[in-house]
């Protein structure tokens, strides 16, 4: 059981910078999710932590020990690959036992542990099969079993659910979190799926173009995104952005969007905002309510009914805008909805940094 510390970790392939000064600390036993769009460097970061890629800058520490240049086998990590990477020429039993056998674990101990893990994952009946005779879901379980059986200090998951059907994916996601809580080791999990990111993580690390954009508890990152990228990346449908400038609204401040439309800001947000400053107003689709006195007028163009929610696509002025409401009763196309904003976010239009 170890904590993981990254100090200014950098990785470049030739002239291409993939990771740029990544600093992070993951507590012992935490479930850490690295999330970002494809090409953001999250898989490379995971591979650097596992020792499969050599970092070109910075250091990596496990439990206070520098493992920056240690081989993967000397780091006491286990990894579940996106492809599962089961050894095709071995039975499930030998796949599970492989790591233990390499470490010269006594035969009885290996057998006992394999049995224990097989029971945990309900794959006892598959032990004598070869991977090619397994379904996708079964292969995924074997891949997890191969990681668990070694009792490593750190678990690594590289998009382990992306090859599963949606239904199975939800089921295994819950199971992964349950196993993590049961085993108590530090887990580092890479995904581009924000549902996985939000539901699994104790700590969320949002990456973009090789840089850490924000680290925090999922809800904190969701509710207080550090910049425009994080705000736009997390949440579905994505946050709406409207250009405007800061204006006075009696004692408080507001964002003026033109044509007399003003969205009032809550008191806590005022500090860094001088009237007249250009800003970008961010509004999550879920953070609006219908209110006949609300400042925003949404011209409805398309309504998507999801059963539990409706997504209303339309325009506010010239800008496109999406609002999400609970229930299944949507407005009609062409209708104009008046909306009030419950949680506005304000960003600097040039740097994208959140202004609070």
């Amino acid at each position: 059981m170890v904590d993981v510390r990254l100090r200014a970790v950098g990785k470049r392939f030739g002239d291409t910078v993939v990771l740029d000064g990544v600093d992070a600390h993951f507590d012992d036993g935490a479930f850490v999710v690295l999330v970002g769009s494809s090409g953001c460097g999250k898989s490379t970061l995971l591979r650097c932590i596992a020792g499969l890629e050599e970092v070109t800058a910075g250091t990596i520490e496990f439990g206070g020990h520098d493992v920056t240049h240690a081989a993967p086998r000397d780091r006491d990590v286990a990894m579940v690959f996106q492809s599962y990477a089961l050894y095709p020429h071995m039975t499930v039993r030998d796949n599970l036992a492989f790591g233990l056998a390499l470490r010269k674990t006594p035969r009885e101990v290996v057998d006992a542990r394999v049995q224990e893990v097989a029971r945990m994952l309900s794959i006892e009946h598959l032990l004598d099969r070869h991977p090619r005779a397994l379904s996708g879901g079964q292969r995924q379980r074997v891949a997890m079993g191969r990681a668990i059986v070694r009792r490593p200090a750190v678990f690594m998951f590289d998009e382990p659910l992306s090859n599963l059907d949606p239904g199975l994916r939800n089921q295994v996601r819950v199971e992964i979190r349950r196993l993590h809580d049961e085993l108590g080791a530090t887990s580092i999990y890479v995904t581009h799926d924000q549902v996985e990111a939000m539901t699994l993580a104790d700590r969320l690390v949002v990456l973009d173009r090789g840089r850490v954009q924000q680290i925090g508890a999922p809800l904190e990152v969701y509710r207080r995104p550090a910049n425009r990228f994080v705000a736009g990346f997390l949440g579905s449908p994505a946050m709406n952005f409207l250009r405007g400038h800061i204006a006075r609204d009696g004692d408080a401040l507001a964002v003026a969007l033109g044509e007399g439309v003003q969205v009032p800001l809550a008191g806590a947000q005022v500090a860094a905002l001088a009237p007249g400053r250009e800003v970008e107003l961010g509004i999550r689709p879920q953070d609006v309510v219908r209110d006949d006195d609300g400042p925003l007028a949404l011209q409805v163009e398309l309504v998507e009914t999801l059963g539990s929610h409706v997504h209303v696509h339309g325009r506010i002025g010239a800008a496109s805008f999406v609002a999400a409401f609970e229930g299944h009763q949507g407005p009609a196309r062409g209708e104009v909805l008046r909306l009030r904003v419950t949680l506005p976010h304000v960003f600097d239009p040039a740097s994208g940094v959140a202004l609070r």
Binding site: P72, R73, V77, L86, Y87, G99, M156
Partner: protein, 288 residues
């Protein structure tokens, strides 16, 4: 019979007719050799149906029973030549594959200086006909004192087998997902350990095919062997065969019998190796 089934039946019949013609075309010369081998002397006049005239096994006895007298000893010549052929072919396959495996793996997995030009040179060596190198090889072996030796022949054969083996094995290694090796390394293996425990077993069918190919080309090779060997005790079987068809005298029946005997080991080998020739062992480890 409904039209659909009738069409299928006709199609199937046509396919089979085509296959039978193809097989007959391929086997006709072999049947001729067999007919000749079992015919009595003098050789029958050529006829359309390959069938032995005055059937006999005398030519097989002549070829297999061939002896030579060296000093006071009588040597079973055919036995020695068969052993020469098998030893040379086996050594060629072993040496060729052992050299090709690490080279192919390096080409498949690593980037290094000179990789492209190295591959280019390997490819270029494949473009020269083997005969072109016969004289230089003769001179080299002469200088090394390896003329008329099995070792010399193996060196020559291996050097021609290696480039092809490298290309074949490189493709096989490239087809094995890197994930598998990485999984092994995370599981506790060194790179060499991952190679030995994971990559090699998965590549076994490809390695078997490569070795078989090297074995066969060495076993069947004639021109180099005829150039580099002039002691009948060192002959490989193809050179032995050629001696039945001399400048002044052609024992075609013995030649045909020899040809059949010589192809037996290769046929046996193919029969045994069939299992390995079936690919597909690698499927299933990685979601595909």
């Amino acid at each position: 019979m409904n039209p659909m089934r009738r069409r299928r039946a006709i199609e199937s019949a046509l396919v089979h007719v085509a296959l039978v013609i193809g097989v007959a075309f391929a086997l006709y010369p072999v049947a001729w050799v067999a007919a000749l081998a079992f015919s009595g002397t003098p050789a029958p006049e050529p006829q359309v149906m390959p069938w032995p005239q005055q059937p006999t096994t005398a030519h097989f006895e002549e070829v297999v029973g061939a002896t030579a007298t060296i000093g006071d000893d009588s040597v079973w010549l055919f036995g020695r030549q068969l052993a020469n052929s098998l030893v040379v072919a086996l050594a060629t396959a072993t040496v060729g594959v052992l050299i090709a495996i690490p080279a192919a793996y390096a080409l498949a997995r690593f980037d290094f200086l000179g990789k492209r030009s190295g591959v280019g040179v390997l490819l270029a060596t494949q473009m020269f006909p083997a005969v072109a190198s016969a004289i230089p090889l003769y001179l080299v072996l002469e200088a090394l004192g390896l003329l008329n030796t099995r070792t010399g022949l193996v060196l020559c054969y291996a050097s021609t087998a290696v480039p092809f083996a490298i290309f074949q094995l490189r493709a096989a290694f490239e087809a094995i997902p890197v994930d598998l090796e990485e999984a092994a390394m995370v599981d506790g293996a060194t790179r060499v350990g991952a190679f030995v425990r994971v990559v090699l077993p998965i590549a076994r069918p490809a390695i078997a095919v490569t070795a078989l190919f090297a074995f066969m080309s060495a076993y069947n090779e004639f021109i180099l062997a005829a150039t580099l060997l002039d002691d009948s005790r060192m002959f490989t079987l193809p050179v032995m065969l050629q001696h039945y068809v001399g400048e002044y005298d052609a024992k075609w029946e013995a030649f045909a019998a020899g040809a059949l005997v010589v192809s037996l080991p290769v046929m046996a080998l193919f029969y045994v190796a069939q299992r390995h020739l079936v690919a597909g062992l690698a499927s299933g480890g990685v979601k595909g």
